[in-house]
């Protein structure tokens, strides 16, 4: 039973505005891949981008839409790229979120920074309307909480991050923010964004990859009837055998059996008969 080839997870970008998306589309050579009434998707091998529109609810819906569009594969890398305001940080500075707070819900999330952050990190507060008072020393924006909570349903938190580029501050208000400015700011941050993507994808490779290839497993289900519980047991036993004896040729022996229970018992006996190594 040959082990499945190692697979690099995909990176899923979520951006609110076309002017945030355009530099990413060009940089990663993404092509239009699909659209619904609400969302547009662009893609290239290993990369997807969904244009969500403004606000946390749309960001959450866009995450769900992209997850389904990309084949409902779990534990993919997710990155929300967008703009935000901060009282003091200079325009164009990019920050990774180390805390995301939904101001309305008074709820916070803490994206685990398991890699060395290549940029500054900050608290990000998701607000309902554009913030002009900048009360706290944090980044104010409008999508992160919806994006993050939704993405956590489909992946593990270490692979989900928000990168926010400062578009306004006390010196330069939201009134000065134009599509052209946003596009320029994102373009200036592309190298940093790409570095973050590489770090997340490298981290993702530490996830366990041991799997029984679907077609191998299907062979068992076609040959014998396994209850749902037995299917779990079967998968577990095949994984254990794959670990202990990667070149095992057990199919000829199993083919002689008529009952699923006998298949499970034969696999157990085979595992228990193998010399135990560390």
């Amino acid at each position: 039973m040959p082990p499945k080839k190692l697979m690099m997870p995909d990176i899923h970008f979520v951006t609110a505005l076309p002017c945030e998306a355009q530099p990413l589309i060009e940089f990663y050579r993404l092509k239009p891949a699909g659209r619904s009434k609400s969302f547009e998707i662009y893609e290239a091998p290993g990369k997807h981008l969904v244009l969500s529109g403004v606000g946390k609810i749309r960001a959450a819906e866009a995450v769900r839409f992209l997850h389904e569009f990309a084949g409902k594969i779990r534990d993919q890398a997710w990155l929300n790229v967008g703009i935000g305001g901060h009282p003091d940080l200079k325009i164009g500075e990019g920050v990774l979120a180390h805390k995301i707070t939904d101001q309305k819900l008074a709820k916070s999330w803490y994206p685990p920074l398991v890699f060395e952050a290549p940029s500054r990190t900050e608290s990000v507060v998701t607000v309902e309307r554009a913030e002009n008072k900048y009360g706290e020393s944090c980044v104010y924006e409008m999508e992160a909480s919806g994006f993050y909570e939704a993405a956590c349903r489909f992946s593990t938190a270490e692979l989900i991050h928000c990168y926010k580029i400062i578009s306004d501050n006390r010196e330069s208000s939201t009134k000065k923010v134009s599509a052209a400015l946003v596009e320029r700011l994102v373009r200036q941050n592309l190298e940093m964004i790409d570095e973050i993507v590489k770090k997340i994808l490298t981290l993702a490779q530490a996830l366990p990859h041991a799997e029984i290839p679907a077609h191998e497993f299907q062979k068992f289900l076609e040959r014998w009837h396994f209850t749902v519980t037995e299917q779990h047991q079967l998968r577990r036993l095949l994984l254990r055998l794959q670990t202990l004896e990667p070149e095992a040729e057990i199919w000829p022996e199993l083919q002689l059996l008529t009952k699923s229970k006998d298949v499970l018992n034969t696999l157990k006996d085979r595992i228990n008969s193998l010399p135990v190594a560390l």
Binding site: W109, F115, A117, L207, P208, H209, L241, V276, L278
Partner: protein
């Protein structure tokens, strides 16, 4: 070493919080309400976080000390455990913490004084009877010592209460504070020991067994009471010769009068913990081997476990008097 320190707002000004933060001046500081917000969410992967765990400074509110399970002990009837930390610096593949917590971040409870009150209350309730308090269940007792100052705080407490025993369970060689103080006669420094080959294969980031033995020798010379913990026992094709060699090495250096107690325990995990650990490390041979479920626990097949226990017990009793031998069969 620590890039991120999460701090519960309530303990921001606690002196121990300040001391710890001073040790990591470059770490980002992130404030939270309760540590569970960071530590408990579902969508976390212990294996990924173990690559770079953060430190969470928190306050514990209740359950400062807990009764141990029946069958766990080193000679006393009143056995309790307490944890000033959750999670461990080391990365032992067999460790049940991987199956118990979703996060690999280190949680450090700074309110030692509340633990202290709970321990003193329990000692008082036990009256003239001895109580045993075990540290090192949810963390290694000494590994984080330079950060936590755990022993410097708790050993004087036990020195004042000779009827209360403290066991510090460790694989660490952070023994400097112990060497600098007068031995506390009702404290057992208990080292977990496995054969070198098993340590190399399964105990990532731990000091080598030879280093642990050197640390034990120093403690022995200073007059500290030692505990020898052969737990968990790991089965494999060469286990007999490896455990025999381990015992020879241990008892060449460690003299029985210095040993308070010796215990051993087979490799066993709660079923749910095993399931979680298997998902985290499906390629680990330890979890793929001849294990089976019995009464909600996953352990080696009964025949293997009995064979291993009988063999190791018999070899161990060649060195150790029965009155200080406490096999743990939970």
């Amino acid at each position: 070493m620590i890039d991120t320190v999460y701090i519960e707002k309530e303990i921001e000004s606690h002196p121990r919080t300040k001391e710890v933060c001073e040790r990591f001046p470059k770490a980002r500081r992130v404030f939270c309400e309760r540590y569970g917000e960071v530590f408990n969410p579902n969508a976390q992967n212990f294996r990924l976080q173990k690559q770079k765990p953060a430190l969470i400074l928190a306050k514990k509110f209740d359950h400062f000390i807990l009764k141990t399970q029946k069958g766990y002990g080193i000679g006393g009837d009143h056995n309790f455990y307490f944890s000033h930390m959750l999670n461990c610096l080391y990365d032992c593949r067999y460790c049940f913490l991987q199956g118990m917590y979703r996060s690999a971040h280190f949680v450090f409870f700074v309110n030692y004084e509340d633990f202290e009150h709970a321990i003193e209350k329990q000692i008082k309730e036990a009256g003239s009877e001895e109580s045993y308090f075990f540290s090192g269940y949810d963390c290694d007792s000494l590994a984080f010592e330079p950060v936590t100052g755990f022993t410097s705080h708790f050993l004087p407490l036990f020195a004042r209460h000779p009827k209360a025993w403290l066991e510090l369970r460790t694989k660490s060689i952070q023994i400097k504070p112990l060497l600098e103080m007068k031995p506390v006669q009702n404290c057992v420094i208990a080292f977990s020991l496995t054969p070198t080959e098993i340590g190399a294969a399964l105990e990532a980031k731990t000091p080598a067994v030879t280093k642990r033995l050197e640390a034990m020798e120093k403690l022995q010379e200073r007059g500290w009471k030692l505990g020898l913990r052969f737990d968990p026992l790991i089965y494999h094709a060469q286990y007999q010769e490896q455990y025999e060699r381990l015992f020879r090495e241990v008892f060449k250096k460690i003299k029985i009068p210095s040993v308070h107690s010796v215990s051993l325990g087979p490799f066993r995990l709660p079923k749910q913990g095993y399931e979680t650990m298997f998902k985290l490390y499906p390629e680990a041979k330890l979890f793929a081997g001849p294990l089976e479920e019995r009464k909600g626990m996953v352990s080696y097949a009964q025949k293997i476990e009995e064979e291993m226990l009988n063999f190791i017990t018999s070899r161990l009793l060649e060195y150790v008097p029965k009155n200080i031998f406490f096999p743990c069969l939970i």
